[in-house]
Amino acid sequence: MRIRSAGLLAGTAALALATACAGGGQEADQPQGGMVIWADPERTAVLEPFAEEFGEANGIKVDVREVAVDTIQADFVTAHEGGSGPDVLVGAHDWIGNLVQNGAIDPVQLPQEKVDALNDVAVEATTYDGRLYGVPYAMENLALIRNTALAPEAPETVEDLVETGSRLKDEGEVQEILGLQVSQTGDPYHMQPFYTSAGGYLFGTGDNGAPDPSDLGVGKPASVEAFERIAEFGEEGEGAFKRSIDGDNVGSLFTQGKTAYFVTGPWSLAAVQEAGVEYGISPVPGFEGGEEPVPFVGVQAFFVASGSKNKVLAQEFVTNYVTDPELATALYEADPRPPALNEVAEKVGEEDADVGAFTDAGANGRPMPAIPEMDAVWDPFGKAQAAVIGGADPKEAVESAAEAIREEIG
């Protein structure tokens, strides 16, 4: 019995050691396994050949890992905290505020001539607290896509649009006046051109040109007036803005010809083309007699992780390699959004009228605020919009949203 136990123990130990060695070996390899890039699924495949080329040129393995688009930012921060993050992150510029306060990314140092080659708004978007934190490669903003078979002319104002839309609805050509996603909880991103055209703003501009969290535009009289204007086109008014239209159904409304107008970004273009709808792209119109609409501009950028163990390579990749026009062109071809490199944007704009039209629609756009305080705005502000569109009192809705935001910002 005793002998058998001893044998058992020895056997167990041997087996365990063997497993551990196999496992241990793997562990030991990983940190030096080369550079790791995190990107969302859409961009992973495009980046792979370039990452490989970069790796081969420098004698190191470069791995592009796909991370789900909804969680990539949170996963990155968590991984950074645990010391197991990637070396390079591909993501949106409005994460910068949060990534910086968590110390997860480093500033990037681009020579002035490279900065000059980039779109000004893109550079502004990736500049935070006076420092450049990411190298932008693509931009996106909202535009109005219209079904040219139903509405041949681009509307000059929201009133124009609603007039044509209502006429088409009365004639039974369409079901809805406008395809604008609102949903039950609101969608400030898609509402922004209308909100700004009606005179509202989110944050004032500070001395350094960045959004100033101490000057909150929500709750100011101008924002109440803006909401009153929006309410005129809500469910109790013209019925152009509706809570029943959300991100899930808005695309099919347009592609099935149930509405003639669709407020969306370049990401919807593929679906529209696939559906075979004849379309035209124009800037999102403003209200009659209102301000010029200011849509949000979102910028996709490459970031250097501060926790990177291959920082020299990561910096090299981000500052010297991704500013290459060839890569920008390839990224554009995989996912047609206006490139941030002026040279490429011009070339692409000539060849592809759609991208040019989106760039034009964003000409008046401003970068989405990247300050962490913006997190406090989305939820209450969206709900206020949804409430007003559903017929609630604009003043009460805006003021309670402003109170919730102020309480959070402190």
């Binding site: 136990s5 058992l8 123990l9 056997g11 167990t12 087996l15 365990a16 050691l17 497993t19 551990a20 496992g23 030096q32 550079m35 040129a57 420098n58 004698g59 190191i60 921060v77 905290e81 949060n98 910086v100 306060q101 968590n102 110390g103 500033p107 990037v108 140092q109 020579p111 001539e113 039950q184 909880t185 029943s244 899930d248 159904n249 501060s306 291959n310 920082k311 020299v312 390579l313 910096q315 090299e316 500052t319 010297n320 962490p372 997190d375 406090a376 939820d379 209450p380 709900k383 206020a384 409430a387 559903g390 609630a392 009460e396 809705a397 309670s400 949203a401 919730a404 959070e408 910002i409």
Partner: protein, 539 residues
């Protein structure tokens, strides 16, 4: 078990008096297969332990190493010793209870007294490092150099030197002493230096393995400025504007002379005029998170309403899924031949078999006021399901019941089949009607099996985040309060407070979880006590 307990009392600490344990006669011999299984399981435990220890050892987590070693030693002692028979049964469950219940609760408690949140994740040292590192700025009109990383001497492992080419073609060598002109260098087409006398060019992969050294290196060029690398093929002249001084425990901004002093209560560097640097660190805040929740008048007023609806939601769901599940189970539990009984059962179980995530989203679109299937099928005017409090509540309940009743049906079918039919037949012979037999014979026996499941269903639905978040997101929201919606459960409400409005606030979230944990615990204890009385039928 009862026998075991009384005997243990009879012979305190005396092994000889121990009566034969259940299965004890088999224990000494054991079967070959049993021995093999035991060996296999122990080997697995050892393997897992070794797998877990190495990374902990590498990270210097000695407490973790200690815990793993102790747990493994305990496992080996219990299963290799012939004495600790009851422990052999209890150990796996106990270990899992500790690992998956007690440790998370303790961790949540310890987090709830910190300010752990976005901007306060790491240590003070990390925050300082990051503040200094991210404050490096390119000097105005700085020259952009082409960089070649090199080492002094003939080995690439030698002392680090930056070989720099200015845009005008001039070459320099920079080290810790400063910048010197470089002569005799061969410059490649990209501007990089390919060869220089006295230096060895470091290849990129080699340079990468010296990352830390290279990124920390600056060739001094003047007061506070230095030439730093940006990757391995470009360099710039820059200065670090924020510097930490441990003497005053503060950070000085050289651009405007502003001083940010460390505030160890807030975990941030704060200047005199109240401005703070974004990078903070994690500190203990005592009961602040709890007080913040209790002290906020708005939260207090919302809380009672949400709790009431939460209880109603969980109780309503439980009651309805039970009634519906049992009803269907009884219908299909007939003695008569029922054609396609299996097909019916399969159909009923379908909602349970489908991924609930997708089902919630599907139901959400079916409830859409303008385009939803329900409004199109129902006669009368369109109902704005998610736009009004009571219709939204009804909608959430309907979806949840639809998803939940198949499980009850499965359990009830199993329980019904375990009740001998003779009992009901005897009752019928004694003159009981069908209803009376069901109510007084079948039902009490059924409840023995069902009561704990009902308690579990209640507890699960009390925190059924998905059912609400994926359908209504807690809405509709009253115009005067965008934080507390009509269908909000405590868990969705607190999730919004902790994560929805201002980044991730783990400390606050943990404090809120502690509240919910207490509420659920109290409710579960009360209901388990009450359901224990149902077991009286066995006595």
């Amino acid at each position: 078990m009862a026998q075991d307990r009384s005997s243990a009392g009879g012979a305190p600490g005396g092994a000889p008096a121990r009566p034969p344990l259940p299965g004890g006669s088999l224990a000494p011999r054991g079967s070959a297969a049993g021995q093999a299984a035991k060996t296999g399981m122990l080997a697995l435990a050892a393997a897992i332990a070794l797998w877990a220890v190495f990374p902990l050892y590498a990270a210097g987590q000695w407490v973790g190493v200690g815990v793993v070693v102790a747990a493994t030693a305990l496992i080996f002692y219990v299963y290799l010793s012939k004495r600790a028979v009851p422990a052999k049964y209890l150990l796996p469950g106990t270990l899992f209870l500790v690992a998956f219940q007690i440790v998370p609760v303790l961790y949540t408690l310890s987090t709830s007294v910190t300010n752990y949140s976005d901007g306060h994740r790491g240590t003070k040292e990390q925050a300082i490092d990051q503040i200094e590192a991210s404050s490096v700025e390119r000097t105005a009109d700085a020259t952009a150099y082409t960089l070649t990383v090199a080492a002094r001497g003939s080995s690439p492992e030698g002392e680090l030197v930056f070989l720099l080419t200015a845009p005008d073609g001039a070459a320099y060598a920079g080290d810790e002493d400063g910048l010197r002109p470089l002569t005799g260098a061969e410059v490649g087409p990209s501007g990089k230096i390919t060869d220089a006398p006295g230096y060895t060019v470091v290849p990129p992969s080699e340079a990468n393995s010296r990352s830390e050294e290279i990124t920390g290196f600056a060739v001094p060029t003047g007061a506070g400025t230095g030439i730093r690398s940006s990757g391995f093929s470009s360099a710039y002249e820059g200065r670090s504007s924020l510097t930490y001084d441990s003497g005053c425990d503060c950070i000085t901004d050289s651009r405007n002379g502003r001083v940010y002093t460390a505030d160890d209560e807030r975990g941030a560097f704060v200047s005199d005029n109240g401005e703070r640097l974004p990078q903070g660190w994690r500190v203990g805040v005592g009961l602040d998170n709890f007080l913040r929740f209790v002290g906020d008048p708005e939260t207090r007023s919302s809380f009672v309403g949400i709790l009431t609806w939460n209880v109603a939601f969980a109780a309503g769901t439980t009651a309805m899924v039970f009634a519906l599940g049992l009803g269907v189970a009884l219908t299909l539990h007939t003695r008569h031949r029922l054609r396609g009984r299996t097909a019916y059962r399969l159909l009923v179980v379908l909602p349970y078999a489908m991924p609930s995530f997708a089902m919630f989203l599907l139901w959400r679109s079916m409830f859409n006021a303008d385009f939803g299937l329900l409004n199109r099928m129902l006669p009368g005017p369109d109902v704005d399901w998610f736009g009004q409090p009571w219709t939204a509540r009804a909608a959430v309940l309907i979806v949840n019941i639809w998803l939940g009743f198949p499980y009850m049906f499965l359990v009830a079918t199993g329980a019904l089949q375990s009740i001998p039919r003779e009992l009901v037949q005897a009752a019928r012979i004694d003159g009981a009607g069908a209803w009376q037999a069901l109510r007084q014979v079948t039902f009490p026996l059924l409840m023995v099996a069902m009561a704990p499941i009902l308690v579990a269903t209640f507890a699960f639905n009390f925190n059924n985040f998905n059912a609400v978040w994926l359908t209504t997101e807690g809405g509709p929201f009253p115009t005067d309060n965008p934080l507390a919606g009509a269908t909000d459960l405590l868990i969705t409400y607190t999730y919004r407070l902790a994560f929805g409005v201002s980044g991730a606030q783990y400390g606050y979230a943990a404090a809120l979880s502690v509240f919910i944990f207490l509420i659920v615990t109290v409710m579960s204890v009360v209901s388990l006590r009450r359901s224990a009385s149902l077991e009286e039928v066995h006595r």
